[in-house]
Protein backbone atom coordinates (compact mmCIF):
# COMPACT_ATOMS: atom_id res chain seq x y z
CA UNK A 1 0.00 0.00 0.00
CA UNK A 2 0.97 3.60 -0.31
CA UNK A 3 -0.12 6.82 1.33
CA UNK A 4 0.29 10.08 -0.52
CA UNK A 5 -0.29 13.51 1.01
CA UNK A 6 -1.16 16.44 -1.22
CA UNK A 7 -1.04 19.87 0.40
CA UNK A 8 -2.78 22.72 -1.42
CA UNK A 9 -2.17 26.36 -0.56
CA UNK A 10 -3.37 29.61 -2.10
CA UNK A 11 -0.55 31.33 -3.96
CA UNK A 12 1.19 34.04 -1.95
CA UNK A 13 -0.27 36.85 -4.05
CA UNK A 14 -3.88 35.64 -3.59
CA UNK A 15 -5.71 37.23 -0.66
CA UNK A 16 -6.70 34.62 1.95
CA UNK A 17 -9.64 36.15 3.83
CA UNK A 18 -10.15 32.96 5.87
CA UNK A 19 -6.53 33.03 7.01
CA UNK A 20 -6.94 36.67 7.91
CA UNK A 21 -10.06 35.92 10.00
CA UNK A 22 -8.17 33.15 11.82
CA UNK A 23 -5.28 35.55 12.41
CA UNK A 24 -7.69 38.00 14.06
CA UNK A 25 -9.17 35.25 16.24
CA UNK A 26 -5.73 34.06 17.40
CA UNK A 27 -4.93 37.60 18.49
CA UNK A 28 -8.24 38.00 20.30
CA UNK A 29 -7.71 34.69 22.12
CA UNK A 30 -4.42 35.77 23.59
CA UNK A 31 -1.70 34.87 21.09
CA UNK A 32 0.43 37.95 20.55
CA UNK A 33 2.64 38.71 17.58
CA UNK A 34 0.78 36.78 14.86
CA UNK A 35 2.03 38.35 11.62
CA UNK A 36 0.24 36.11 9.12
CA UNK A 37 -1.99 33.03 8.81
CA UNK A 38 -2.57 31.14 5.58
CA UNK A 39 -5.22 28.41 5.43
CA UNK A 40 -4.85 25.45 3.09
CA UNK A 41 -6.16 21.98 2.37
CA UNK A 42 -4.64 18.56 2.88
CA UNK A 43 -5.61 15.41 1.00
CA UNK A 44 -4.52 12.06 2.44
CA UNK A 45 -4.78 9.48 -0.30
CA UNK A 46 -4.55 5.77 0.50
CA UNK A 47 -3.68 3.47 -2.38
CA UNK A 48 -3.60 -0.29 -2.56
CA UNK A 49 -0.63 -1.89 -4.23
CA UNK A 50 2.63 -0.13 -4.90
CA UNK A 51 2.91 3.38 -6.27
CA UNK A 52 4.39 2.72 -9.70
CA UNK A 53 5.56 5.46 -12.05
CA UNK A 54 2.31 5.44 -14.04
CA UNK A 55 0.12 5.97 -11.00
CA UNK A 56 2.52 8.55 -9.60
CA UNK A 57 2.29 10.47 -12.89
CA UNK A 58 -1.53 10.25 -12.84
CA UNK A 59 -1.57 11.53 -9.27
CA UNK A 60 0.68 14.46 -10.18
CA UNK A 61 -1.63 15.31 -13.06
CA UNK A 62 -4.77 15.16 -10.92
CA UNK A 63 -3.13 17.11 -8.10
CA UNK A 64 -2.66 19.95 -10.57
CA UNK A 65 -5.96 19.54 -12.37
CA UNK A 66 -8.56 18.48 -9.80
CA UNK A 67 -7.15 18.86 -6.28
CA UNK A 68 -5.77 22.34 -6.97
CA UNK A 69 -6.50 25.14 -9.40
CA UNK A 70 -3.17 26.33 -10.83
CA UNK A 71 -4.63 29.80 -11.37
CA UNK A 72 -4.80 30.48 -7.63
CA UNK A 73 -3.15 27.56 -5.83
CA UNK A 74 0.10 25.60 -5.51
CA UNK A 75 0.36 22.00 -4.37
CA UNK A 76 3.05 19.77 -2.94
CA UNK A 77 2.88 15.99 -3.08
CA UNK A 78 4.60 13.75 -0.54
CA UNK A 79 4.69 9.95 -0.50
CA UNK A 80 4.68 9.03 3.20
CA UNK A 81 4.28 5.27 3.02
CA UNK A 82 5.29 3.06 0.16
CA UNK A 83 5.37 -0.56 1.27
CA UNK A 84 6.35 -1.83 -2.12
CA UNK A 85 8.80 -4.23 -0.57
CA UNK A 86 5.99 -5.68 1.57
CA UNK A 87 7.30 -4.71 5.00
Amino acid sequence: MARVIVDVMLKAEILDPQGRAVQGALGRLGLSGVTDVRQGKQFIIELEGDLDDARRATLEELAGELLSNPVIENYTMTVVVDDEAGA
Binding site: L10, E13, I14, L15, P17, Q18, A21, L66, L67, N69, V71, I72
Partner: protein
Protein backbone atom coordinates in the same frame (compact mmCIF):
# COMPACT_ATOMS: atom_id res chain seq x y z
CA UNK B 1 -38.27 28.69 -35.32
CA UNK B 2 -36.92 30.08 -32.07
CA UNK B 3 -33.39 29.34 -30.96
CA UNK B 4 -32.87 26.45 -28.57
CA UNK B 5 -30.92 27.37 -25.45
CA UNK B 6 -29.87 24.53 -23.17
CA UNK B 7 -29.91 25.00 -19.38
CA UNK B 8 -27.76 22.52 -17.47
CA UNK B 9 -28.79 21.06 -14.12
CA UNK B 10 -25.97 19.82 -11.89
CA UNK B 11 -26.53 18.25 -8.46
CA UNK B 12 -26.92 21.40 -6.34
CA UNK B 13 -27.92 23.81 -9.12
CA UNK B 14 -30.52 26.29 -7.89
CA UNK B 15 -31.35 28.75 -10.61
CA UNK B 16 -32.01 26.58 -13.64
CA UNK B 17 -35.79 27.20 -13.48
CA UNK B 18 -35.35 30.98 -13.46
CA UNK B 19 -32.73 30.71 -16.22
CA UNK B 20 -35.09 28.64 -18.38
CA UNK B 21 -37.90 31.10 -17.67
CA UNK B 22 -35.68 34.02 -18.72
CA UNK B 23 -34.91 32.26 -22.00
CA UNK B 24 -38.61 31.72 -22.64
CA UNK B 25 -39.55 35.32 -21.82
CA UNK B 26 -36.81 36.55 -24.16
CA UNK B 27 -38.43 34.49 -26.94
CA UNK B 28 -36.20 31.42 -27.02
CA UNK B 29 -36.90 27.76 -26.40
CA UNK B 30 -35.37 26.54 -23.13
CA UNK B 31 -34.07 22.95 -23.25
CA UNK B 32 -33.20 21.12 -20.02
CA UNK B 33 -29.80 19.45 -20.04
CA UNK B 34 -28.53 16.96 -17.46
CA UNK B 35 -24.99 16.98 -16.03
CA UNK B 36 -24.56 13.24 -16.43
CA UNK B 37 -25.57 13.17 -20.08
CA UNK B 38 -23.04 14.07 -22.76
CA UNK B 39 -25.85 14.78 -25.24
CA UNK B 40 -26.75 18.48 -25.49
CA UNK B 41 -29.82 17.82 -27.66
CA UNK B 42 -28.71 19.96 -30.61
CA UNK B 43 -29.07 23.22 -28.71
CA UNK B 44 -27.78 26.46 -30.24
CA UNK B 45 -26.42 27.87 -26.98
CA UNK B 46 -25.90 26.78 -23.37
CA UNK B 47 -26.53 28.37 -19.98
CA UNK B 48 -24.72 27.20 -16.85
CA UNK B 49 -26.96 28.40 -14.01
CA UNK B 50 -26.20 29.54 -10.48
CA UNK B 51 -26.28 27.42 -7.37
CA UNK B 52 -23.93 25.21 -5.44
CA UNK B 53 -23.01 22.36 -7.79
CA UNK B 54 -21.68 19.39 -5.80
CA UNK B 55 -22.13 21.45 -2.63
CA UNK B 56 -19.19 23.69 -3.64
CA UNK B 57 -16.97 20.84 -2.39
CA UNK B 58 -13.25 21.08 -3.20
CA UNK B 59 -13.66 24.48 -4.95
CA UNK B 60 -16.77 26.06 -6.45
CA UNK B 61 -17.30 24.47 -9.86
CA UNK B 62 -14.27 22.19 -9.57
CA UNK B 63 -16.23 18.92 -9.71
CA UNK B 64 -18.97 20.13 -12.09
CA UNK B 65 -16.20 20.91 -14.56
CA UNK B 66 -15.62 17.17 -15.01
CA UNK B 67 -19.31 16.27 -15.56
CA UNK B 68 -19.94 14.39 -18.83
CA UNK B 69 -22.07 17.25 -20.22
CA UNK B 70 -19.14 19.63 -19.81
CA UNK B 71 -16.92 17.71 -22.26
CA UNK B 72 -19.51 18.32 -24.98
CA UNK B 73 -20.01 21.95 -23.95
CA UNK B 74 -16.27 22.68 -23.86
CA UNK B 75 -15.88 21.27 -27.41
CA UNK B 76 -18.87 23.27 -28.63
CA UNK B 77 -17.56 26.44 -26.97
CA UNK B 78 -14.25 26.01 -28.78
CA UNK B 79 -16.21 25.81 -32.03
CA UNK B 80 -17.99 29.11 -31.22
CA UNK B 81 -21.26 28.10 -29.58
CA UNK B 82 -22.53 30.81 -27.20
CA UNK B 83 -22.08 29.72 -23.56
CA UNK B 84 -23.16 31.83 -20.58
CA UNK B 85 -22.17 31.01 -17.00
CA UNK B 86 -23.98 32.84 -14.23
CA UNK B 87 -22.50 32.83 -10.70
CA UNK B 88 -21.71 29.13 -10.12
CA UNK B 89 -21.74 28.83 -13.92
CA UNK B 90 -19.03 31.52 -14.08
CA UNK B 91 -17.04 29.58 -11.50
CA UNK B 92 -17.39 26.42 -13.63
CA UNK B 93 -16.22 28.28 -16.77
CA UNK B 94 -13.12 29.49 -14.90
CA UNK B 95 -12.42 25.95 -13.65
CA UNK B 96 -12.63 24.67 -17.25
CA UNK B 97 -10.20 27.45 -18.24
CA UNK B 98 -12.60 28.56 -20.99
CA UNK B 99 -12.32 31.86 -19.11
CA UNK B 100 -9.14 33.08 -17.37
CA UNK B 101 -8.82 33.74 -13.64
CA UNK B 102 -10.78 32.32 -10.73
CA UNK B 103 -13.45 33.25 -8.21
CA UNK B 104 -12.49 33.24 -4.56
CA UNK B 105 -14.06 33.81 -1.17
CA UNK B 106 -15.55 37.31 -0.78
CA UNK B 107 -12.88 39.49 0.83
CA UNK B 108 -15.22 40.33 3.76
CA UNK B 109 -16.13 36.62 4.21
CA UNK B 110 -19.88 37.28 4.28
CA UNK B 111 -22.43 35.97 1.82
CA UNK B 112 -23.79 38.99 -0.03
CA UNK B 113 -27.28 39.39 -1.47
CA UNK B 114 -28.24 42.77 -2.93
CA UNK B 115 -29.52 44.58 -5.99
CA UNK B 116 -26.27 45.53 -7.71
CA UNK B 117 -25.56 48.32 -10.15
CA UNK B 118 -23.32 47.38 -13.07
CA UNK B 119 -21.87 49.12 -16.10
CA UNK B 120 -21.85 47.12 -19.34
CA UNK B 121 -18.46 47.67 -20.97
CA UNK B 122 -18.45 45.18 -23.84
CA UNK B 123 -21.35 45.15 -26.29
CA UNK B 124 -19.67 42.84 -28.81
CA UNK B 125 -20.05 39.50 -27.00
CA UNK B 126 -22.76 37.00 -27.88
CA UNK B 127 -24.56 37.75 -24.60
CA UNK B 128 -24.22 41.56 -24.44
CA UNK B 129 -24.65 42.77 -28.02
CA UNK B 130 -28.11 44.29 -27.41
CA UNK B 131 -26.83 46.63 -24.67
CA UNK B 132 -25.66 50.15 -25.43
CA UNK B 133 -21.99 50.80 -24.58
CA UNK B 134 -21.67 52.05 -20.99
CA UNK B 135 -25.27 51.16 -20.15
CA UNK B 136 -25.92 51.03 -16.40
CA UNK B 137 -28.16 48.25 -15.12
CA UNK B 138 -29.37 46.88 -11.77
CA UNK B 139 -29.68 43.11 -11.23
CA UNK B 140 -29.50 40.87 -8.14
CA UNK B 141 -26.16 39.63 -6.83
CA UNK B 142 -25.88 36.73 -4.37
CA UNK B 143 -22.63 34.96 -3.69
CA UNK B 144 -20.17 33.83 -1.07
CA UNK B 145 -17.27 33.23 -3.42
CA UNK B 146 -17.54 35.93 -6.05
CA UNK B 147 -14.20 37.67 -5.76
CA UNK B 148 -12.69 37.67 -9.24
CA UNK B 149 -8.92 37.21 -9.22
CA UNK B 150 -6.31 36.83 -11.93
CA UNK B 151 -2.65 37.83 -12.20
CA UNK B 152 -1.86 41.41 -13.18
CA UNK B 153 -0.86 40.46 -16.76
CA UNK B 154 -4.18 38.68 -17.29
CA UNK B 155 -6.13 41.63 -15.84
CA UNK B 156 -4.22 44.05 -18.10
CA UNK B 157 -4.90 41.84 -21.12
CA UNK B 158 -8.62 41.52 -20.31
CA UNK B 159 -8.95 45.29 -20.00
CA UNK B 160 -6.74 45.99 -23.03
CA UNK B 161 -8.76 43.64 -25.22
CA UNK B 162 -12.10 44.97 -23.98
CA UNK B 163 -13.02 41.60 -22.50
CA UNK B 164 -14.42 42.98 -19.24
CA UNK B 165 -18.12 42.82 -20.04
CA UNK B 166 -19.45 44.33 -16.80
CA UNK B 167 -18.03 46.17 -13.80
CA UNK B 168 -19.50 46.80 -10.35
CA UNK B 169 -20.63 50.40 -9.78
CA UNK B 170 -20.97 52.25 -6.44
CA UNK B 171 -19.95 49.21 -4.35
CA UNK B 172 -17.48 46.41 -4.98
CA UNK B 173 -19.49 43.70 -3.21
CA UNK B 174 -16.91 40.93 -2.99
CA UNK B 175 -13.39 42.25 -3.47
CA UNK B 176 -13.21 41.46 -7.18
CA UNK B 177 -10.02 42.78 -8.76
CA UNK B 178 -10.62 45.99 -10.68
CA UNK B 179 -14.38 45.78 -9.89
CA UNK B 180 -14.81 43.04 -12.50
CA UNK B 181 -18.29 41.45 -12.50
CA UNK B 182 -18.06 39.56 -15.78
CA UNK B 183 -15.67 38.71 -18.61
CA UNK B 184 -15.69 37.07 -22.03
CA UNK B 185 -13.24 34.91 -23.98
CA UNK B 186 -11.27 36.20 -26.99
CA UNK B 187 -13.93 35.10 -29.43
CA UNK B 188 -16.78 36.67 -27.44
CA UNK B 189 -18.97 33.54 -27.40
CA UNK B 190 -18.21 32.46 -23.81
CA UNK B 191 -19.32 34.86 -21.08
CA UNK B 192 -19.20 34.56 -17.28
CA UNK B 193 -21.06 36.92 -14.94
CA UNK B 194 -21.29 36.80 -11.13
CA UNK B 195 -24.62 38.71 -10.69
CA UNK B 196 -27.91 37.13 -11.77
CA UNK B 197 -29.68 38.56 -14.84
CA UNK B 198 -32.18 35.66 -14.80
CA UNK B 199 -33.68 37.13 -11.60
CA UNK B 200 -34.33 40.48 -13.32
CA UNK B 201 -36.60 39.65 -16.23
CA UNK B 202 -40.03 40.56 -14.82
CA UNK B 203 -41.02 43.74 -12.96
CA UNK B 204 -43.11 41.75 -10.46
CA UNK B 205 -40.12 39.96 -8.95
CA UNK B 206 -36.94 41.69 -10.10
CA UNK B 207 -35.41 45.09 -9.32
CA UNK B 208 -35.58 45.74 -13.09
CA UNK B 209 -35.99 43.85 -16.34
CA UNK B 210 -32.42 44.70 -17.38
CA UNK B 211 -31.43 41.05 -17.16
CA UNK B 212 -33.57 40.17 -20.13
CA UNK B 213 -31.12 41.93 -22.46
CA UNK B 214 -28.48 39.22 -21.91
CA UNK B 215 -30.86 36.53 -23.15
CA UNK B 216 -32.21 38.67 -25.98
CA UNK B 217 -28.59 39.33 -27.02
CA UNK B 218 -27.95 35.60 -27.39
CA UNK B 219 -31.05 35.19 -29.53
CA UNK B 220 -30.08 38.09 -31.78
CA UNK B 221 -26.50 36.89 -32.12
CA UNK B 222 -27.77 33.41 -33.09
CA UNK B 223 -30.12 35.06 -35.57
CA UNK B 224 -27.26 37.12 -37.02
CA UNK B 225 -25.11 33.97 -37.24
CA UNK B 226 -27.87 32.07 -39.05
CA UNK B 227 -28.26 34.91 -41.51
CA UNK B 228 -24.64 34.87 -42.60
Amino acid sequence: MSARIGVVTFPGSLDEADAARAVTIAGGEAVSLWHGDDDVKNVDAVLLPGGFSYGDYLRCGAIARFAPVMDTIIDAAHRGMPVFGICNGFQILCETHLLPGALTRNDHLHFVCRDQKLRIENTASAWTRDFTPGQEIVIPLKNGEGGYVADEDTLDRLEGDGRVIARYLDVNPNGSRRDIAGITNERGNVVGLMPHPEHAVESLTGPSTDGLIFFASALSSLMAGAGQ
